[in-house]
Subunit: 438 residues, 2 copies
């Protein structure tokens, strides 16, 4: 019997644990789910006899090392900054480690030690990063194996609300970490366009958007991600003249979000005064010169260059930014105050489902001609626990774990899933779960 240790039993672990428990009998696995919240871990195990819930604080070295020592493979669903604690023990006890997080510099530094211990530390095997790597590399390798030369690579991904539940003016609800959404686009975006390096500073990220068609009937918009350039080397697409990665939103989202950026409401660099009692209306008024409690509606419309009847103005209004309720937080930054409001307004309600959309667009040169290829993925959530986000993050991890324990993955050391031994079997099995590119 093999022991799989899952660190962290939050929402994002639900699909992963479900898969592992379902395969436990056939694969002869025992799934140990460790979380500082025992009840949460127990809930994820349910009545399965193949699972065991354990209460564990990741900073409790004795307990942590005991669990890791007795496992065959560790899957860390912890916040990205905590992976390294587990990784060091995995070196010590020679255990495989899987995470869905971006490969950090400190994780990279363990490569030689992991090789020596003959274990795999597999990172970036969730959705984005994860499924994006798998699916893009499959396309790229296929094109290259036929003699094609990649000319352009564009890749887009977004976590959205499923169309049936898309019922607010922003066409958006939180389906993942709200803080990341509020702080998106606050660093300069870098990409390659027609062979030239391009930058988009934060003040233009949400106005320099692009329309992206997915399938016949869906058009989204995309704003540029922070760093598209770092994908060129690992993907082996040095021939590409254009390399751009972006985040997908429903059309109109970015224009409205840009209003909040212009106002200053996404700033996370300073604390507002007296945010226990400061109202949203006062906060909004503070960002518009000449505005006061009486003329705020008009001043806001003027500031945005809109009429009060416009759709865009109504979007802003709908958020409740002109209401007289207090922010009710201690020392909140503008971004934190905004996030609190958005978490109420953009809440995925009971019974509502989320949706993942991903699209790759690749142009390549073959025998002197330019060809275009694209692949799209749309995944809807199954229920409120088994969201499409939890599914597309957890499934690739779970499948990779299975393949690794079956001895079907030979890679060792610190890796990300960009080779055939990862993308072929994992994409194949993902299709069985409805995660299929078209």
């Amino acid at each position: 019997m093999k022991n799989i240790l899952v660190l962290g039993a939050g929402l994002s672990s639900s699909y992963l644990i479900k898969y592992l428990l379902q395969h436990a009998k056939k694969e002869d696995w025992k799934i140990i789910v460790a979380d500082s919240n025992l009840e949460l871990a127990q809930k994820k195990i349910g009545k399965s006899t193949f699972g065991k819930a354990v209460e564990m604080d990741i900073h409790n070295q004795e307990k942590r090392q005991e669990l890791i020592k007795n496992s065959d493979l560790v899957i860390s669903m912890l916040p990205a900054t905590l992976h390294f604690i587990a990784a060091q023990d995995c070196i010590l006890y020679q255990k495989h480690l899987i995470t869905a997080s971006y490969l950090s510099e400190e994780m990279k530094s363990l490569h030689t030690q992991a090789l020596k211990a003959n274990v795999l530390f597999l990172n970036e095997i969730g959705l984005d990063p994860g499924i994006d790597h798998l699916s893009a590399m499959k396309m790229i390798h296929h094109i290259q194996s036929e003699g094609g030369e990649i000319v352009s690579f564009e890749s887009y991904c977004g976590g959205l609300v499923a169309p049936e539940f898309d019922d607010n003016p922003w066409n958006y609800k939180f389906t993942w970490n709200p803080r990341n959404v509020v702080l998106a686009g606050q660093a300069t975006a870098r990409y390659l366009e027609a062979g030239l390096l391009k930058f988009i500073p934060p003040n233009r990220i949400f106005s320099q958007t692009k329309k992206i068609k997915v399938g016949k009937n869906n058009t989204f918009e995309s704003y540029a991600n922070r760093d598209s350039l770092s994908y060129i080397d690992p993907y082996g697409i040095g021939s590409a003249q254009t390399v751009l990665r972006g985040t997908l939103r429903k059309v109109g989202f970015s224009e409205a979000w840009n209003c909040l950026v212009k106002l200053g409401l996404t700033d996370d660099s300073y604390s507002l005064p007296q945010t226990e009692t400061l109202t949203y209306r006062e906060l909004m008024s503070a960002f518009i010169g000449g505005a006061n409690s009486e003329n705020l509606e008009k001043k806001l419309a003027d500031f945005l260059g809109l009429t009060k009847a416009s759709k865009l103005y109504k979007k802003i209004l709908w958020l409740g930014l002109l209401e007289t309720n207090a922010i009710g937080m201690h020392n909140a930054t503008p971004a934190q105050a905004l996030q609190k409001l958005l978490q109420e307004k953009w809440k995925l309600q009971k019974g509502e489902l989320d949706q993942i959309v991903m699209k790759h667009e690749i142009s390549y040169k073959l025998n002197g001609k330019i060809y275009y290829e694209n692949a799209s993925l749309i995944v809807n959530g199954e229920n409120q626990q088994l969201t499409s986000m939890a599914k597309t993050v957890g499934l690739p991890m779970a499948i990779a774990a299975k393949l690794l324990l079956q001895g079907k993955i030979k890679a060792r050391g610190v890796q990300i899933p960009i080779t055939k031994e990862f993308y072929e079997p994992i994409l194949l099995e993902l299709e069985k779960y409805g995660v299929k590119f078209i």
Copy 2:
């Protein structure tokens, strides 16, 4: 005989040291100028027999403590972060300390110790902060002593090129630390307007400007400083409905600077790649989607919404941002690359003079009526060493030093010059040097 120790012999010390040497005979002073660059210190002393140049690294504790121990008063012209090193020794040996820098939290923490040692640690006694405090407090106290209640307080200051040498399209030349100019306006500005808290985020600081008239014939523009609110308590103007401090520039500067902000050229948060060989033209092109070496001029005009014939477009062009010379720096940020270019273009040439402009505008209520008062200051540089900036920073420090050693200032502990015993005698003597408010 009393020993005055001046730490730092840079450009900003020139007027200060000149004053001290001129008064040394009458006041029975010896002026010790310490700098890590002995030659620089010697140059400032010149042939005066009342001065002595000493080579000293501020981090050399033995040398530093020996000099401070043997002095009666220390004037620190060091970078703001280094004052505290000298301040601790001044506590140890019970010596007065004078700086022109903003009062830091660590400096504040020495208040009780300074009181116990019966010494004065006087901060913010340069131009801005410094002369602004002295002149504003004189006006405020005068109004309040007659029963007036301050309704509005606005204060503006700028370091500019003197009109005779104002010969470039930006109407600006560097007369002080270029880095501070390039990085200005990168934090949200806070002020009070009609009783309401107001914020201006960085993306709007240079477009939300105000016209300021100084005298009959001079109109400047002003952008908001970072924190106007912190002046309310020390100035005792809690009654004011409007409190705003701003930086003065010639009209048109901010609009043009805002173009550089929009482009992303003032960003100091990341390093550009290969800035040894990257040209300014390539850099500029990188900030405009769709731009390349051929169409850059047109794309830039389109991006800015300008014609190539417009004055504003020509201002940007004049900086050399479309030239094909390499940045020639290692790991430069956009702001550093821009600064390098500006330091050539906005250089105050040999023989050219600078100018300081300051204006206070105060409204107050007296017997139910609203009155308005203003005071303006314009100071031109005398020569390239004795700039108006060095004069207006150094003179208040020097005069304060004299008054202190004459026993005419009784304040002790950590202070800023906002009381009558500072502003009355210092403003009076400043007038003799042509630093006179109208």
